[in-house]
Symmetry: C2
Subunit: 162 residues, 2 copies
Amino acid sequence: MGTDTTKTLSASEESYIETIGNLIRERGYARVTEIASILNVKPPSVTNMLQKLDEQKYVTYKRYRGVILTKKGRSLAKTLERRHNTLKRFFVMIGVSDENAEKDACKIEHEIDPETAKKLAKFVEFVQSAPRTPPFLEHFTQYLETGERPKECKVKIQIKES
Amino acid sequence: MGTDTTKTLSASEESYIETIGNLIRERGYARVTEIASILNVKPPSVTNMLQKLDEQKYVTYKRYRGVILTKKGRSLAKTLERRHNTLKRFFVMIGVSDENAEKDACKIEHEIDPETAKKLAKFVEFVQSAPRTPPFLEHFTQYLETGERPKECKVKIQIKES
DNA sequence: TAACATTGTTAGCCAAATCTAACAGTTAGC
DNA sequence: GCTAACTGTTAGATTTGGCTAACAATGTTA
C-alpha cells in the first residue's frame, strides 16, 4: 500500500535519476560535477534538481555529502536503463549509427508508453535470441545497401523437418 | 541560397506546425480554437505560438484573420507527417495498440535524428512492400502470443530456384 | 594546521510555454 | 444594421529548468 502520489516525472528529472544510477553502478558514487558534465548542465542545476528529487523521495541527498538512490529511485533507474538498452539495440539493428542510436535512445526512453517499451523489448529479444542472424534481417541489410529486395525473398522455399 | 538561420525548433513548436498542416489538409483552414483543442492547450497559448512562428516564417498569421503555412512551414509539416506515419506503422507492426502507437508517434517524431527516421522508414517499407506478410513477422506475432518461438524457426530450410 | 584548490551551494536572473481574466473583433439572427 | 454569441487577443502570473556570480564547505599539501 502506501499512498503512491507518483505524479509522472519530466524527461529532465528522469535523466538525472538515470545518470545517478549509471554513475553509482559504475563507480559506486555520484558526484555533482560529474552528473553536470554528463548531462551538459552546470553544477547549480544539479544541486537544484537533487533537492527536488529528494523531496519526491527518488534520492537521498545531503548537502555537500553526496546523493544515493532510494528504492523508488533504483526501480525507476533500472526501468530506464533497460528501456535505453532496448531502444539502442533496436536502432543499431536497423542500421542506425552507434552514435545516433545512443543519442536517440536517450531522448525516446522518456517518451514511450510502457506498452510500447514492452513490445519493442519483445521484438529485440525475438530477433537477438535467434540461433543466428535471422534471414529477414540480412535481407533488410542488403536492401539498405543495394535498394534491392534480395532474390531469396521472391523464391519458393521448402521446409524439411530437421 | 538565402541565409538559412534555421535554429532547431522545440517539440512544441513542431507540434503546432504539424497540427496546422493537418487541419489545412483536412479542412482547408486552421482555427485557433481547434488547434487549441487538438493540442490540449488554451487559445491564448495558440495565439502566442502563432506570433512566434510567424516571426520565424513558418506561418503567415494575421490577427483575427487565421493562419496558413509558408513554404518553409509546409516542408516541415510534410517531414513530420511522414515521420509520424512511419513511427505509427512500425509500432502497430510490432503489436502496439493503435492508441499508444498514435500517442508515442506524436512524441517521438520530434526527438529522432533524421538518420534514424530514414532507417526506420526503410525498415517499414521493407516489411510492408513485401508480396505478403513476411514469415518473421508472423513468427514474431506468435512469439508475442505464446512466448514460444515457432517451430519453423528451428528448422532447416532448402532454397529452390523457382 | 593554515592556506589553497576543488567541489558544492545559494541567490537571483532568464526564457519557454503554459495559464486565467479581461478585453476586442467578427459573425449571424432578428 | 444591432446586438448577442462566438472567436480570438492581450496582459500579466506561474512553472520548469536552465544560467551566472558570489559564497561556503571540504580536501589536500606543504
